[in-house]
């Protein structure tokens, strides 16, 4: 660090960064330019506008593991308010910039590029630019004006200058700025960063925020009706709605003007009152704006409500409510990749196209960071991967991206300590988490486990069963015999109580034979009585040849204990015929396995049906309702 004495007032002025050639004396506001060991006073620095940036000179932080200090800044004015570029000195000796506007942060570094830089006049939001072999898309083109500087800076900043700049966005949050204020454009390349990721310390303190006092940073009278209007969002909003007459006033500068007027008789009451604070997923936020938007689909109006939330450190968030379903939304500078069928890949996930429609602003109260107008419209495309939604909003001038996450109403009630209940949920929300998703996965895993076990048991049974022929005989039945009953020789059944299969084969043709059978345990005298009919018929008719019945029959007796057995047969029939009988012990079968699989699939199939029903409801209000898909698939098949 080098310290010099201010030539104007004598105060000590430090140069912390070797990159800094200019410093502004904190005492007398003189601009000092360093020439080797001497400093030159080139006059007073223009006074910076009061802003609500949480960053100040001396703020420290960390970027990609390297600590930095904020040693200076330039302040620029652009169409949507104030934008700061904070000069950073890193511990590893680098000099960088932290761009900050309306709660959005980007770290960038001056880079020398060999790429061809397009002229400023050629830039528009459809332009693609390659920088260091990386593709960038022009996001915003601004005729900004540098108001002035503060602290140490690596270049001369006099009393302000015009700064034509273009902001570009690349893949995965990459960010670039091309500064056309010098003869050769300066290229800064970096990335968008989250406030929390910078681990900033020594920030400005906002008493009114910390002490939860409604801030009155700016209060004025409505230029339409004269009612008092108070700005809540620490100078970070540029339009505000008069609570009395409903007109929207541009407050981006001292010359207040009416942007649009609303029908003051139309009142929509926010479910979460303006000024209410609540701690949500990533910090404490205050509701500062409310609007209602609507779309018209096939003549039917669908409206939803949006709440603008503000935190002086983290910027803006949104809550949207439709049919009692709430989404918590924030802007994103990460861009999706289109993967076909209108679907996109974003943040490691596939998002399916849900709906595209032109949304119109119906009603506004509170304040906003853009000039909101009654009736203004934009094309909104939503892509969903429940519980997240990616929304792309297009107007003539810009395209913005946001990511929403479903939030349970009870979570909101707790977060904002609401005393009135929120509207009941109707139907299924676009990104409402399916209660069947996790259940399906768990039931699926269990089903797989059970089916595997059943299969293992079945394979074990097949491997260990005897499947043994224990008796076989050929016999004959003569119609008209007085006594037809027969008994077999004694045979042995071994092993655990198991089944016995009796297979009979009768040489019947257009006839039948009925066999009264008994398997008798010679040891215990227990008899198992049963009867089987075998019939086989064939012929021809107008449809051709036909057959009915079967000459072979299998029957299974369950749980027959081991022992010595014999078989008794008593046939009767219409005609004499020969027949055979074979008795098998412990024959493996498949029906019980298949029945078990059927039982095990009952619940999973029910869960799958419920899940499909839930998804059908979810998609019913989308551009791709499932019933429509089914119908169109059916039509295709035809």
């Amino acid at each position: 660090m080098i310290k010099v004495n201010c030539p104007s007032c004598g105060a000590s002025v430090p140069f912390q960064s070797t990159h800094s050639i200019q410093a502004v004396c904190e005492h007398c506001n003189s601009t000092l330019v360093r020439h080797d060991v001497n400093v030159e006073d080139i006059g007073k620095m223009a006074t910076l506008q009061v802003d609500a940036s949480p960053i100040q000179l001396g703020t420290r932080g960390e970027y990609r593991g390297v600590s930095f200090s904020v040693v200076g800044r330039i302040q620029l004015h652009f169409d949507r308010g104030i934008w700061n570029e904070w000069h950073l000195t890193f511990n590893d000796g680098r000099s960088g910039w932290l761009g900050e506007a309306q709660g959005t942060y980007a770290v960038s570094f001056l880079e020398k590029v060999d790429d061809s830089i397009p002229d400023f006049a050629q830039l528009n939001s459809k332009k693609n630019v390659t920088l260091r072999k990386l593709p960038f898309h022009v996001e915003n083109v601004e005729h900004a004006r540098c108001i002035g500087g503060q602290g140490e800076l690596p270049f001369h900043v006099a009393g302000g200058y015009d700064a034509p700049v273009a902001d570009l966005v690349g893949a995965d949050g990459a960010f670039a700025t091309i500064d056309y204020s010098e003869e050769h454009p300066l290229v800064f390349i970096g990335e968008y960063v989250e406030f929390d990721d910078l681990r900033l310390t020594n920030l400005r303190e906002f008493d009114s925020w910390t002490n939860k006092i409604t801030p009155k940073v700016k209060a004025f009278q409505c230029i339409s009706c004269g009612s008092p209007v108070t700005q809540r969002a620490f100078l970070q909003t540029i339009s505000i709605s008069c609570p009395a007459c409903g007109c929207v006033i541009d407050i981006s500068n001292e010359n207040l003007k009416i942007i649009s007027t609303f029908d003051s008789r139309t009142k929509v009451k926010p479910q979460i009152p303006l000024g209410t604070r609540g701690t949500l997923k990533d910090g404490e936020f205050e509701v500062i704006g409310f609007l209602q938007r609507s779309i018209s689909v096939e003549g039917v109006e669908y409206s939803w409500r949006e709440y603008l939330l503000f935190n002086p450190f983290k910027g803006f968030r949104w809550l949207s409510e439709y049919n009692g379903h709430w989404n918590y939304i924030r802007s994103t500078f990460h861009r999706p990749k289109i993967i076909g069928n209108n679907d996109v890949h974003f943040d490691g996930e596939e998002f399916r196209h849900f709906q595209s429609a032109t949304a119109t602003v119906d009603y506004v109260i509170g304040e906003f960071y853009w000039r909101v107008r009654f009736g203004e419209s934009s094309v909104v495309s939503d892509f969903i991967a429940p519980p997240r939604m990616l929304s792309v909003e297009r107007t003539d001038n810009e395209m913005s991206y946001s990511v929403g996450e479903y939030i349970e109403p009870k979570e909101l009630i707790n977060a904002f300590a609401l005393k009135t209940p929120l509207p009941s949920r109707i139907g299924v929300g676009a990104i409402q988490p399916s209660p069947y998703k996790e259940l399906t996965e768990k039931v699926g895993m269990l089903t797989l486990l059970f089916v595997t076990l059943a299969l293992a048991i079945q394979i074990l049974t097949l491997a260990l069963s005897q499947d043994k022929l224990v008796y076989q005989a050929d016999m004959a039945y003569k119609a008209g015999d007085a006594e037809t009953s027969r008994v077999s020789d004694i045979f042995e059944l071994t092993g655990h109580p198991s089944n016995v299969m009796v297979r009979t084969n009768a040489n019947v043709n257009n006839s039948w034979i009925y066999l009264s059978m008994a398997l008798i345990n010679d040891d215990t005298g227990t008899a198992y009585d049963f009867g089987r009919e075998i019939g086989y018929y064939s012929g021809t008719d107008s449809d051709g040849a036909w057959t009915e019945g079967n000459r072979t029959d299998d029957v299974f007796l369950p749980s027959i204990p081991a022992g010595h057995y014999y078989f008794r047969l008593e046939p009767e029939g219409a005609a004499s015929t020969s027949y055979s009988i074979a008795i098998y012990r412990d024959v493996p079968r498949w029906w019980l396995f298949l029945a078990t699989i059927g039982f095990l699939l009952l619940l999973p199939l029910g869960v799958v049906w419920k899940k499909r029903n839930f998804e059908s409801l979810r998609w019913s209000e989308s551009d791709h309702p499932m019933s429509k898909l089914i119908n169109s698939e059916g039509e295709d098949d035809e």
């Binding site: 259940l439 048991i457 198991s498 008899a527 198992y528 369950p558 493996p588 078990t596």
Partner: protein
């Protein structure tokens, strides 16, 4: 519901294991105790009581 399915699945698997082991079947039959030994010598003295299956 998961717990209920675990219980249900375990019961079904248990029933399957028991049924497979004992050779479960739906064949209708009658079980008679202490039939006389004389059947082997004179099968005609035994008259089957089985009458569930109608026949022609």
């Amino acid at each position: 519901m998961i717990r209920a399915f675990m219980v249900f699945g375990t019961l079904v698997l248990g029933a399957f294991t028991y049924g497979t082991y004992t050779g479960a079947s739906f064949t209708p039959y009658d079980e008679l105790k202490d039939v006389p030994k004389s059947i082997r010598n004179n099968p005609g003295v035994y008259r089957s009581v089985y009458s569930r299956l109608p026949h022609k």
